[in-house]
């Protein structure tokens, strides 16, 4: 028997013809796929936008940043919280900055921070007060809006001057005010405001705009009465020497603290990359979770298609019988029903892609996160929708093809 070629153009036009006969049903079947594909694209793009914005925020903390934190306080068998020890000092910071052995570090920023209440006139706010040196702006990429930042001279002279983050300016003086020359009271001491910083954006815990900068010497001696640091931030010369810098500084501090074994270190060094890696691992888990949820809705859409196709096969039993009586072979019938289900899912896929893009745009607007559409997710959605058409169209098509012509012709 000669295998006859299938006229696919005819099959396609017939399929479209059949599907347009019952527009409501076709529309509902397509809707399932539209929602499935649309939500895959929207949720993947939401996930990627979140990932991008978290990465951007971490990078805005300073590039090539290394942070030295004091280790945990051990009292006998009791291990205290990390960072609770007082082993880091201003001398450590100066030693790192001045050591000829350390070649990979650009600048060193000693820091001491504590939350406290600050007052001006009738207003007050609880904020992070950070004692810093002039190197802070370089290491943390802080830009000055008005006035100037803390200088080396301020540190040396233990001046009572303060630089305010934009959030603090808003809280104490109102949005857009110029507070230069005015005074604030921190822990009962009066500070003159010499500058404000440009907003870095960000909200909630660790907001970089809700900060008051004072000279490190003033913070240690005048405000909090301590002689240690809460952290030392370092800027490495380039991203490629981050690991080398971590080792160099690590061994330098071990020697300075008279420790022979790295396991006994009373400090830890965390690189920007470590934080970034942790954050991207978290956000990519988040993205997978969202994609998983979207995939379920796509699956439900596919089952919807299968349901519609099964109903169609039952309804058209007589027609299938007739076609077989007139010489349609199994593959003709399979081609016919598969084509219909692929048309359904493909149309749904295309509409879904547009819906998904529109939805991600709206989400990006509402959450003021970036608008990210990855071509790969669109391609994936396309392939998946066609695949679902084949997968869920296959069973009904097989059922149709295996109908016996007499039974089908007799069917009422």
């Amino acid at each position: 028997m000669i295998k006859k070629s299938i006229d696919y153009a005819e099959v396609l036009s017939e399929g479209i013809g059949t599907l347009t006969l019952n527009k409501t049903r076709t529309g509902l079947a397509i809707l399932g796929i539209v929602i499935g594909i649309g939500s895959v694209i929207a949720l993947v793009s939401l996930g990627q936008a979140t990932q991008a914005s978290i990465s951007a925020r971490i990078e805005s903390l300073g590039s090539n940043l290394l942070t030295i934190n004091p280790g945990a306080q051990n009292t006998g068998a009791v291990r205290g919280a990390a960072g609770s020890r007082t082993t880091l000092t201003l001398d450590d910071a100066n030693a790192i900055a001045n050591s000829p052995d350390i070649t990979t570090i650009n600048s060193v920023s000693p820091e001491f921070s504590r939350r406290t209440q600050i007052i001006t006139g009738a207003n007050n706010t609880n904020t992070q007060v950070v004692g810093v040196a002039d190197t802070y702006t370089e290491v943390h990429k802080v830009a000055i809006d008005q006035g100037s930042f803390i200088t080396q001279r301020d540190v040396a002279a233990i001046n009572k001057v303060a630089v305010l983050g934009s959030q603090v300016v808003t809280d104490l003086f109102g949005a857009g005010a110029n507070p230069i020359g005015q005074t604030i009271r921190i822990s009962g001491k009066t500070f003159t405001i010499v500058g404000t910083t440009v907003s870095k954006g960000g909200t909630g815990f660790g907001n970089q705009d809700d900060i008051v900068y004072v000279p490190i010497s003033t913070a240690q001696k005048e405000l909090f009465g301590v002689n240690y640091l809460s952290s030392i931030a370092l800027e490495a010369k380039s991203a490629s020497v981050m690991t080398a810098a971590q080792d160099e500084v690590g061994y330098f501090l071990l020697t300075r603290h008279h420790l022979s074994d790295p396991t006994q270190a009373d400090f830890s060094i965390l690189s920007q990359q470590d934080i970034l890696n942790t954050a991207s691992a978290t956000t990519s888990t988040f993205t997978s979770l969202l994609s998983g949820i979207a995939a379920i809705s796509l699956l439900v859409g596919g089952i919807g298609i299968m349901n519609i196709m099964l109903v169609t096969v039952t309804e058209r039993t007589r027609e299938i019988g007739l076609r077989k009586a007139l010489g349609a072979q199994k593959r003709n019938i399979i081609a016919q029903f598969l084509t219909e289900s692929i048309i359904l899912t493909f149309t749904g896929g295309i509409i879904g892609i547009f819906f998904g893009i529109a939805a991600s745009y709206i989400i990006s607007r509402l959450t003021s996160s970036g608008f990210v559409i990855s071509p790969s997710s669109i391609l994936l959605a396309f392939v998946v929708s066609a695949g679902i058409g084949i997968l869920f169209g296959w069973y009904p098509a097989q059922r149709a093809a295996n109908l016996q012509p007499i039974e089908a012709l007799r069917y009422e």
Binding site: E10, K324, A325, L326, G327, A328, N332
Partner: protein
């Protein structure tokens, strides 16, 4: 009138007898079909041996339940016999797969059904082209052939009407055009006039007789004696057996030309 009719019948009979030695279209040997359910066996056909030759117009008659529909299904390659042999136009049908049977039906049999069985909401042209789609005939050629046969059955002005826009008789003529389009070895008609008015039934019989005069082989299943009499040969079937196979009746001729 009557005399002329008789003469014609004799001529036709002679004609078919000479052809008998030439080319058999249908040969069945001891065909039987038994339907089995858990509790009982129903014999639908028992030991049916017939031969139908090229150019014959045969009516298969019988009351309902006689097995004539079962015979029609087997002759139409829609069903397989339980026992016996069936040779259609030189091809043994009994051991073919579903797809091979579909191919046989497509090439060798033109079906005309009682319920017309046209695709709903589809034009006459598209309906006639359907078997040609499965035969793999190119589109332009399909269209040309379909137009030719629709014109032949007198529906030149109804080609683009959909099936629900034309009468039952016209629908049956579309079905005949569809049956003819691939030039089959035989036309197999199952109660072709069962669903249409008697005046239109005459028209259908007229078309069959014309086709027969042109050399087409026609096998028609019916339970109406006056419809059966339009054929040259009538096979009576009862309880699954052939009880009478005769050409002794006077064939009703609608148009003698």
């Amino acid at each position: 009138m009557e005399l002329q009719g008789e003469v014609l019948v004799v001529e036709l009979r002679l004609d078919s007898e000479t052809k008998m030695t030439e080319k058999p279209i249908i040969v069945t040997r001891h065909l039987s079909k038994i339907y089995k359910t858990e509790s009982l066996e129903t014999v639908a056909l028992a030991d049916v041996s017939i031969q139908i030759n090229k150019g014959e117009f045969v009516a298969i008659m019988g009351p309902s339940g006689s097995g004539k529909s079962t015979l029609m299904h087997i002759l139409g390659a829609l069903d397989k016999p339980t026992q016996g042999e069936y040779i259609l136009d030189g091809e043994n049908v009994e051991k073919l797969s579903d797809d091979e049977l579909a191919d046989i039906r497509n090439r060798k049999i033109g079906f005309v059904f009682q319920a017309f069985n046209l695709l709903p909401r589809t034009t006459a042209l598209k309906n006639v082209m359907l078997p040609m789609v499965y035969a793999g005939i190119p589109k332009e050629e399909r269209l040309k052939i379909a137009q030719k046969y629709l014109t032949m059955v007198g529906l030149a002005d109804r080609m683009n009407h959909t099936t629900n826009q034309i009468s039952g008789g016209q629908q049956q003529r579309v079905a005949i055009a569809r049956a003819l389009c691939l030039n089959p070895a035989m036309i197999l008609a199952d109660e072709p006039t069962g669903n249409i008015a008697s005046a239109q039934a005459e028209e259908i019989m007229d078309i069959f007789q014309k086709l027969n005069r042109e050399g087409h082989t026609i096998v028609m299943i019916t339970h109406e004696p006056d419809i059966a009499e339009h054929a040259q040969r009538i096979i009576h079937i009862k309880d699954g057996r052939i009880v009478l196979d005769s050409t002794s009746h006077k064939q009703r001729l609608i148009n003698k030309k």
